[in-house]
């Protein structure tokens, strides 16, 4: 079973029954510990809160010196600016959000379709040099993106995939497949192979047994894995900026980064766009919080 945040909540080092004299010292210490944690949590969360504040401030309050923490006028103009252009039509930024949805969505579906059967096969059957194959698969994910993007750029230019959504979808699928295989192999390992053996005794073929009995049990795992793949593609920046050039193809991360290109920067707009961009990620990661340890280590660590 993967270690989950929820489990982390329930178990832990025991608070033992200490004698009263030591308990008083223990209470003083607990206060110090709580205070430290509170301060640390405040430091960790402040940038996020500041981003939210900036996104709802009027421009003159955004650039106020000294910074205004509480007494500012609330406005939703920046959020409107993210989607609606000054002329009235949709902004290029909103187009890039749509591109992101398409690219991340399709590549996640492809990675799942390719990765889940492979994970099942690796889990169930004896494959030659299985360990080496699996490690090779994971190591492709560790390659520095800036290095990989050089030959990919040349390759795409040659075959006409440069600045196309298909090109981005392919490369994102390729970097999500290793993750999907590793993550799903853990989930498949948890389903006893005996179910399939039993189904085959009833006359089903191996494929039918997988389809009818194992796959339904894997659905929660597939959902969690797909959510992580979605987040990885959604957040990806390096391939997105080097393999696209036009607004029609560009995904949200390079589009948002492009907002700071000029001489003056509309930080309110940057903040609002960042929030619109980050909100789905936060919601999705909350949904898969049980599998976070496995997810963020690319499926490698689970206990």
């Amino acid at each position: 079973m993967a270690v989950s945040v929820n489990e982390a909540v329930s178990a832990g080092p025991a608070r033992d029954r200490t004698p009263p004299a030591r308990r008083r010292r223990g209470r003083g210490r607990a206060v110090v510990e709580t205070a430290t944690l509170t301060v640390l949590a405040a430091v960790m969360l402040f940038p996020v809160l500041w981003m939210i504040e900036t996104s709802i401030k009027e421009n003159r309050d955004v650039y106020a010196i000294p910074a205004k923490f509480f007494d500012f006028t609330v406005t939703l103009d920046h959020f409107k600016d993210v989607f609606v252009a000054s002329g009235g039509g949709p902004t290029t930024l909103s187009g890039s959000f749509l591109n992101s949805v398409i690219v991340a969505g399709v590549s996640t579906v492809l990675a799942t379709v390719l990765g889940v059967p492979a994970a099942w096969a690796y889990s169930r059957f004896s494959v030659k040099a299985k360990k080496d194959q699996l490690f090779f698969i994971l190591s492709t994910r560790f390659m520095p993106p800036v290095v990989v993007v050089i030959p990919i750029f040349l390759m795409y230019r040659q075959v006409g995939l440069f600045d196309t959504k298909l090109g981005l979808i392919l490369i994102y699928t390729a970097f999500n497949v290793p993750f999907t295989i590793w993550m799903m192999k853990g989930f498949v390992d948890e389903v006893p192979a005996e179910y399939e053996d039993a189904a085959m005794l009833d006359g089903y073929t191996r494929l039918q047994a997988f389809w009818k009995f194992t796959l339904p049990l894997l659905l929660p795992g597939i959902a969690a894995t797909a959510v992580f793949a979605l987040i990885f593609s959604w957040n990806e920046f390096v391939f997105a900026i080097f393999l696209t050039s036009s607004d029609a193809v560009r995904t949200a991360p390079p589009a948002i980064a492009g907002l700071i290109g000029g001489t003056t920067v509309d930080w309110g707009l940057v903040a609002a766009a960042s929030i619109v961009f980050a909100l789905p990620v936060l919601i999705f990661s909350y949904l898969v919080r049980k599998h976070l340890v496995a997810g963020v280590t690319l499926g490698a660590v689970r206990r």
Partner: protein, 315 residues
């Protein structure tokens, strides 16, 4: 995982006592299934990861330039010797080393401390853990942009707060010696939760009875920490640290957004330098050789990572 399907009326032993004839055909179809299920994924990886790297390897022996076009001529190891002897590259390697060591050390110390404090709490652990994890899930683009705003010398909130407690203004991103520190701080802010999450998983897996036995023996807190907690959490923590080291080594986006390598070249990491050689200088051959050398380092780190991962799984 959820519970078994209703197939429990078939005892497990029956599975192994299948008659030989269907057994062999099943074996054949299993082989076929394995190939059919694994090869599409492997083919994609070969086409999108291995082939590009092989192409880069070929280019690294040539003087090819993506803009000049024309046929590439072989220069053999010229690119490699040029890179390995270049003082510029040595400087970038040093910057990268400073950055990786600084950021990963800070993250490990902070992340483990937070995990330890959270693991000792009775109430509010779920909420605390969730709150601490927020930075890790954000895109480096969002993180970079936001810190760039907060660290702005004129109207950044950090300088504003420093000013209100009577300290002077700091040019965080535009001074040689503070820019790298800023980069380390931002990376630490984003990835401390990663170490925390994994350390917390390790800490909560320590069996309670060990602590109980130790407290019967009236062992001191420090003794318990040193002899029970640390040895049990260490293997998992090491994996987290190695993982972070690989990620930090190949980091590009945060540098690109936060400082663009500046001021001067004070925050240019190896990744960023490769980008400049490849996409601004268009020395594709040189950049490929540079990239191949980086890949070699990543492979060594990844091997180390996987060795420890294997060890952890076997225990």
């Amino acid at each position: 995982m959820s519970d078994p399907v209703s197939l429990t009326d078939h005892p497990v032993q029956e599975a192994s006592s299948t008659p030989p004839a269907p057994g062999r055909s099943r074996h054949l179809s299993d082989r076929w299934l394995t190939v059919a299920f694994i090869s599409p994924a492997l083919l994609l990886l070969l086409a999108m990861s291995v082939f590009p790297l092989l192409w880069a390897l070929y280019l690294s022996f040539t003087d090819y330039s993506a803009t000049r076009g024309g046929p590439a001529t072989f220069v053999w190891f010229e690119n490699f010797t040029a890179i390995l002897t270049s003082a510029q590259v040595h400087l970038r390697a040093f910057t990268t080393l400073l950055y990786v060591v600084g950021a990963v050390t800070l993250q490990t110390v902070l992340g483990f401390s937070i995990a330890y404090l959270i693991s000792r709490r009775v109430r509010g652990r779920g909420v605390l853990t969730t709150l601490f994890l927020v930075p890790m899930m954000l895109s480096p683009v969002v993180v970079g942009l936001f810190w760039r705003f907060m660290l702005d010398a004129q109207f950044g909130v950090i300088n504003s707060m420093l000013g209100s407690i009577g300290l002077g203004q700091v040019e965080w991103l535009t001074k040689q010696n503070t820019a790298l520190i800023s980069l380390i701080v931002v990376d630490t802010w984003q990835w401390t939760p990663f170490i925390m999450l994994i350390a917390l998983a390790g800490l909560t897996a320590v069996p309670k009875y060990l602590y109980e036995a130790a407290s019967i023996d009236r062992a001191s807190e420090w003794f318990r920490f040193r002899t029970i907690t640390l040895p049990l959490v260490w293997p998992l923590l090491l994996i987290a640290v190695l993982f972070r080291a690989i990620e930090a080594f190949r980091l590009f986006d945060l540098v690109y957004i936060l400082t663009s390598g500046g001021p001067g070249v004070s925050t240019e990491t190896l990744s960023f330098h490769v980008y400049k050689v490849a996409f601004l200088g268009f020395n594709t051959g040189t950049a490929s050789a540079y990239g191949i050398l980086m890949v070699l380092i990543v492979i060594v780190l990844a091997q180390l990572y996987m060795r420890y991962l294997n060890k952890l799984k076997e225990d």
